[in-house]
Symmetry: C2
């Protein structure tokens, strides 16, 4: 790939010295799955024979996916995390990733923490960088991640069944709260107390891909996806792909203290339309309840039963504690809608 | 992956209608290798059990890799071609690719020909689009391509041996001639006659990935790569990776009429430092000469023996017809060097 085009007589000059300094590490995290890493026309991976290859690609653009002043270490983490989260949603095990990056300038003081944040997460999940590309241009980060899964075991969006329970992992809504703080939205400044803020910002800047949970759910859950655009918007993908409906139980949505302290209208914005949560949303038969709790414990990730799947195709209802319908306001994020 | 985040109630709106219209085709080129295509968290590929996975990723930025007024159909072709060329250099067979694209606006009149050019090449090589991402931002195209190769059969840069013949496929230098025409460089305008120009522009805008040749070379050639930054610059990667030297025979470099009509100094620029050729440069033992000619014929791609590999590590010589050394001027392209 293009990373390899360093002139032999200028080993530390320009683009390629920059790559060597920051991205070309000698110690691969998991060499058994990497037959050939950075430096040739292609990387070579050696998946487990007979496994299927799960692939996801995300492109992050400054001003759209992150603020220009974002901590580069957090950005390195997040750029990989959002891709690993897609593997988690399929129940796949990471094999490696490529990084293509356009940079306005070769800036060591930016690249060093970016690489540190990136590799810390990669190492934590034994997911080595195997190749990529660098070029000059407006800041743009494109990561493509590869994982493996046994044939027939990937959790797909179209597999939800009427009668399934509906679950969400961890906590949704906190990244949206952090976003509103960064935007200095009056209600956020008014209702989110100062001690709560660093943890919320951390949730937005350093999402946790639920890889262990995803792999533990494989074989138990029917449908799954990761929440990137908001719980309701992403749930609708499952409903459409599966030809089913759903009921969300408003009272059973998990709420941290910071979210519980918000007026209900803002709770709803954050919980249902938050975005950037990277939690898993999944459906499973009621017979799997005990096994799911064990899977959650084994993967040290909380799960919350928040509703159920119905046979009414495309119908999404939100019910309050009294069983009354609540309106679902707002819409998920769409890069080209506005 | 993020392509899938279309709200269920707005099937043709914004980002996702745009994707559906241009990229989400019903008929996959080769469904046997694609277990799951666009529309879920990940794509699922089913490589041949026991094969290795070859991966390459390239990012193309406007103003750096292509002119702002480039024909979008040619750009769609080229964005995939440069990645397929990396598979060719390893001897890999294409399985599929992802496309991540940042667009300043959702522009149907640009996307339609872009997709047409992209899919024409993808279909020609049975390499389906399996997923990706779209976002708003400065125009940026990142394609990651996947292929498969039998273990131990990939042609690597470090496998050249002293005594090997050195070969190049097809014709190098024409893309550089086209670039100089586009730049209105005086020597190009003076020496390249008008009838020759469309074919040269075509070579720059629509490079031909040498996939059939690459697969035919596997098992015959020792080292190989594709020429993206110029013959000399790319040859140095083989020399460094293999710990060898090389001699290039100036007279044996293939020359079309348009190149032969140039003064020698410009011939050298184009032939040795052209860039954007996407021809294969490879080494093979002399015992393979007949088999290589058969492989070239079978893949309908010309090959040219242009020199040999020597034991003098890092030493690159250019010899004229009389066996005299000629200076090698110029350097390959580096995105961050200037």
């Amino acid at each position: 790939m293009s990373t390899a085009t360093r002139p032999a007589d200028a080993p530390d000059a320009g683009e390629f010295g920059l790559i060597a300094r920051h991205f070309q590490r000698l110690g691969l995290a998991n060499p058994s799955q990497v037959a050939l890493g950075i430096g040739d026309d292609c990387a070579l991976l050696a998946p487990t024979p007979g496994s299927q290859l799960a692939i996801s690609s995300d492109m992050l653009v400054q001003g759209r996916h992150f603020f220009p002043d974002v901590d580069p270490a957090a950005l390195g983490h997040k750029a990989l995390a959002v891709n690993l989260s897609d593997l988690a949603a399929m129940g796949a095990r990471p094999l490696g990733f490529t990084l293509a990056i356009a940079l306005p300038e070769a800036n060591d003081s930016w690249l060093k923490p970016f690489a540190t944040g990136l590799f810390a997460l990669a190492d934590a999940h034994a997911c080595p960088l195997v190749g990529g590309d660098t070029t000059r241009g407006p800041l743009n980060i494109c990561i493509t991640v590869f994982g493996e899964v046994l044939p027939g075991m990937a959790m797909r969006r179209g597999a939800a069944q009427a009668g399934d329970d509906l679950y969400v992992s961890g906590q949704v809504g906190e990244a949206r709260m952090a976003l509103e703080l960064r935007r200095e939205t009056p209600w956020a400044l008014e209702h989110i107390d100062t001690p709560s803020r660093p943890a919320l910002i951390e949730r937005m800047d350093r999402p946790t891909p639920r890889l262990a949970l995803g792999q533990a759910l494989s074989g138990l859950a029917h449908a799954a996806l990761d929440i990137s655009d908001g719980l309701v918007g992403d749930l609708r993908h499952i409903l459409r792909a599966s030809g089913v409906g759903a009921v969300i139980d408003w009272a059973s949505l998990p709420r941290t203290g910071a979210i519980a302290a918000l007026p209900e209208v803002h709770q709803q914005t954050c919980l249902l339309h938050g975005g950037d949560d990277y939690e898993l949303l999944f459906t499973a038969p009621a017979t799997a309840r005990d096994s799911l709790l064990s899977a959650a414990q084994a993967s040290q990730t909380s799960i919350h039963r928040i509703g159920c799947i119905t046979a009414e195709s495309g119908m999404l209802r939100l019910l309050d504690a009294a069983g009354q319908d609540r309106p679902i306001l707002g819409q998920s994020f769409d890069h080209f809608a506005t």
